[in-house]
């Protein structure tokens, strides 16, 4: 497998703020890689370093084996980019902006094929290309950038929270486009904080926090690190009966239901015990990224909860 993006120990400081603090990221050819983290974790900064728009203060970054700062122009021939907050030229129409970007990336050599691609994308994204840049809403600006990115084939697509302004129907269209370019063998780096989107689209995921990578791997690998949520009807179960379930974490009874979590790779003995207890209306929720995410950011959430409690108590 060829490595497309290889970053290690990446550092970037803005004054005294450490936006990136030893970030590692590896993306191999042909994969759709989810890049997860809350706002301010350093996702956009990493992307700007990978595009050669910002220069790292430490560590190394390689895209297609080249230095993104030095070889920016050559690399950009192979990259399509959708920024997180799309800004368009206020007095250029969406159609003009799409054409300009496609021409810059050399995607219009075959005029008929380009016109065909552009027409199809404008249709599926339901975009009005005659509006001026300043008249578009956030979602529509994003559509312009997406159409521009997908209208010219690229080897690597870097998409920074590309669906944050789209409605659910458009998200489905977006997912279909990602599936299409992925089938064609392109590599995708998809930054997001929408977990369901990443779960649906991505082969591998990197989770970052405060400028550092805290977790990286395939979704399956990461799921092993998580626990499965299990619940069933309490129906007069005694504590002594419940104690027979092996390795049950956080066991509690809530609204007439018993709930606990179990390690995802140690489920068989748990299920056997549940069968012995003859439990009713059993639900087994698969581990979600959300849980993983919360585990890494749980302390922050706890902090927020404390603040809220304090505010209420006042």
């Amino acid at each position: 497998m060829t490595t497309v993006i290889e970053a290690s120990g990446l550092e970037k400081r803005f004054g005294r703020v450490r936006a990136l603090d030893g970030l590692d990221l590896t993306v191999t050819e042909g994969e759709v890689h989810g890049f997860l983290g809350p706002n301010g974790a350093g996702k956009s900064t990493t992307i700007r370093v990978l595009l050669g728009l910002a220069r790292s203060n430490g560590g190394t970054a390689r895209v297609f084996g080249s230095d993104p700062w030095r070889d920016a122009v050559a690399l950009h021939r192979r990259i399509a980019y959708v920024p997180g907050d799309v800004s368009l030229w206020p007095n250029l129409s969406g159609g003009e902006a799409i054409d300009l970007l496609a021409r810059l990336r050399g995607g219009t050599a075959d005029k008929a094929a380009y016109a065909e691609r552009k027409k199809r994308l404008i249709e599926v994204f339901q975009l009005d290309p005659t509006k001026k840049g300043r008249a578009y809403s956030k979602g529509n600006r994003q559509k312009v950038a997406l159409v521009a990115a997908f209208a010219t084939p690229a080897d690597l697509y870097i998409l920074d929270e590309p669906t944050s302004g789209l409605d659910p129907l458009m998200e489905a269209t977006f997912n279909a486009e990602i599936a299409r370019i992925s089938r064609d063998g392109a590599t995708v780096l998809l930054s997001s904080h929408i977990l369901s989107e990443v779960e649906q689209l991505c082969d591998r995921v990197s989770i970052i926090r405060e400028g550092k990578t805290v977790e990286s791997g395939t979704l399956d690998e990461l799921r092993h690190l998580t626990r499965t949520e299990i619940s069933f009807a309490a129906d007069g179960m005694t504590d002594e009966q419940l104690a027979r379930i092996p390795d049950a974490h956080d066991l509690r009874t809530d609204n007439g239901r018993v709930k606990f979590t179990a390690d995802s790779d140690g489920l068989p003995p748990v299920l056997a015990a549940l069968a012995d207890l003859n439990v009713k209306s059993l639900t087994v929720a698969p581990p979600s990224l959300e849980e993983l995410f919360l585990r890494h950011y749980g302390d922050e959430l706890a902090g927020v909860a404390e603040l809220e409690a304090e505010a209420k108590g006042r």
Binding site: L51, H76, D85, L92, S93, G95, L100, A145
Partner: protein, 565 residues
């Protein structure tokens, strides 16, 4: 008191219960916000206008101190209507009256621009950015922000009127007449405040509103110029009554105050009445339209780009051509005036020894020199064209900065376009703009001079004078590009401040007797001398500085981060 508080469970609910008090409170908040936001900007505008009044009064006292000198000046002006277009309406030969004649229309022009920008900044620009929506969702009623803007603008104009009056008084002109003169400036300001507010209602973008409002201000200035030029001479031959076009212009109404002579306050009623009618229309329009919508709908754009829009150069031209066109028309008109005026001035004063003062004054505009009057005059007026060309170049570099801050440069930089090419393509458009403005002015000056009866050599003089301004505009383009690369956030303030200071020192420096060492900080004062003893030294230096600055900018742009969009 206690009964009402028990009725209200929370203070938040209470505010809706007292809408009248709420409205007054929000008006106060909005007004304070406007005053605070504009405090430096308005201070600079008002100080500039007041100092222009002060300096011009002082310099006229120095140049035309004697009554005979002033009489010659006024007779010359009345004999040559083009001078009247540029100045105003002669009201006798008193020192104060001549000062008002010389400077009032420029003060009113500046006051007009100050007010239209103020009006649009707090109305259409706010709606465009979405902030107006945020404010509109608070208890502030729909019309309250506009009321606050009107009060804010009127307050600014009252301060402006007083500051201008103080400027005139400080140079020794009579106090009462100075107050009248100040009111003539402030009254024109209020009239243009209303113009700005109305256009902000009509146009759907702040750019469009600012553009049309500025055009109305300039048109008002031109209308009164035509009216003054076709006016009739009365009395002793040094006083004039305006023609009808002057009465179509708020600046023309300002001239009718006739400060220091008749001290007539009635034209103020015209200016204020005009403002009241327009502001009533503003409230009428605002009451019926949606927030964010204009009366003139925005035209749809092109579905596909023209073939020319295929890179940074095409983009830079696409973004800048309206600006370039505007400055080029400015250059063209200035050229026409320069040519027409040049022959008039030379035939009248060149060989009259009693007009040595006027000759001196002309010779000291810009780079100066000594030689035939027509050529000297052309070269002096061309330094104004140089300011226009430099302004156009400055705007091109400022566009680079706007592209960066707005985030569209980021989109561009993520494509296979090198930073150096992006930068130099915009610089190239700046260069093209400079050449177009200067060429238009030179051609127009040559044509209008020959049409006025000058020899064909006037073309040579005009082109030489325009060429002399090329390195000056180029040095602004080059150095500001370097500023954009090295100190990006300074681009806009440094650009306008350097241009304003350079133009002021270059054009008025000699008149107001600034020391030589200070004058030579202005590129306009160092422009090549093309009349008499030709000296291109300053030009070579500026050319060299511009090229070095551009080379440094191109080398350093690779090293810096781009602003986070």
């Amino acid at each position: 008191m206690s009964t009402t508080t028990t009725d209200r469970p929370a203070t938040r609910a209470g505010r809706t219960a007292v809408p009248e008090r709420g409205r007054v409170a929000t008006l106060g908040v909005l007004l304070r916000q406007r005053l605070r936001r504009d405090r430096w900007q308005l201070l600079i505008w008002i100080l500039c206008i007041a100092f222009l009044a002060l300096f011009s009064a002082a310099s006229i006292d120095q140049t035309y101190g004697s009554a005979t000198g002033r009489e010659e000046l006024i007779r010359l002006a009345i004999a040559n209507p083009t001078v009247l277009v540029l100045r105003g309406l002669p009201q006798g030969t008193g020192l104060a009256a001549v000062t008002f004649f010389e400077i009032y229309t420029f003060l009113a022009l500046l006051a007009g621009l100050m007010n239209t920008f103020l009006a649009v900044r707090h109305s259409r620009a706010e709606e465009e950015s979405g902030r107006a929506e945020l404010v509109g969702s608070t208890p502030a009623a729909r019309l309250t922000p506009t009321v606050a803007t009107v009060i804010h603008g009127v307050l600014a104009d009252i301060v402006l009127a007083l500051a201008t009056a103080l400027g005139f008084m400080a140079s020794g002109l009579p106090a009462y007449g100075s107050l009248v003169a100040g009111a003539a400036v402030g009254g024109a300001g209020i009239a243009f405040l209303a113009v700005g507010l109305l256009l902000a209602q009509v146009m759907s973008t702040s750019r469009g509103a600012n553009g049309y409002a500025s055009a109305v201000v300039v048109l008002a200035w031109v209308l009164r110029g035509i009216g003054d030029a076709i006016g009739t001479v009365t009395g002793s031959g040094t006083t004039m009554v305006s023609g009808w076009p002057t009465w179509l212009s708020p600046i023309g109404w300002g001239e009718q105050f006739s400060p220091y002579v008749r001290n007539d306050w009635t034209p103020l009623l015209l200016q204020l009445g005009f403002a009241i009618v327009l502001i009533a229309a503003v409230f009428g329009l605002q009451a019926v339209r949606d927030s964010g919508a204009g009366i003139v709908p925005e035209r749809a754009g092109r579905r596909d780009a023209l073939p020319m829009l295929n890179g940074p150069l095409g983009l830079a031209w696409r973004l800048q051509w309206p600006t370039v066109l505007g400055w080029t028309i400015g250059g063209l008109l200035t050229g026409v005036l320069a040519g027409a005026l040049g022959s008039v001035v030379s035939s009248s004063i060149a060989n009259d020894p009693s007009l040595g003062n006027i000759r001196d004054a002309v010779a000291h505009l810009g780079a100066g020199g000594s030689g035939p009057m027509t050529a000297l005059f052309l070269s002096a007026i061309m330094s104004i064209v140089g300011v226009l060309a430099a302004a156009c170049a400055v705007q091109t570099v400022i566009r680079l900065r706007q592209e960066e801050v707005g985030g569209s440069a980021e989109v561009m930089m993520a494509t296979p376009v090198s930073r150096v090419r992006w930068l130099l393509d915009f610089v190239l458009v700046g260069l093209i703009a400079i050449v177009l403005v200067l060429l238009a002015a030179a051609l127009a000056a040559g044509v209008s001079a020959t049409a006025a009866g000058e020899k064909a050599s006037a073309f040579n003089d005009a082109f030489a004078a325009a060429a002399a301004q090329f390195p000056v505009a180029l040095v602004y383009l080059g150095v500001l590009t370097l500023v954009f690369v090295v100190l990006p956030s300074w681009t806009v303030p440094v650009g306008w401040a350097a241009l304003g200071a350079g133009a002021f020192i270059g054009i008025f420096g000699a008149l107001i007797k600034l020391p030589d060492w200070l004058r030579h900080f202005s590129p306009f004062a160092d422009a090549p001398v093309v009349v008499g003893k030709v000296d291109w030294t300053g030009g070579y230096w500026m050319f060299g500085i511009a090229v070095v600055a551009l080379a440094a900018a191109a080398a350093l742009i690779r090293r810096r981060d781009f602003a986070i969009g």
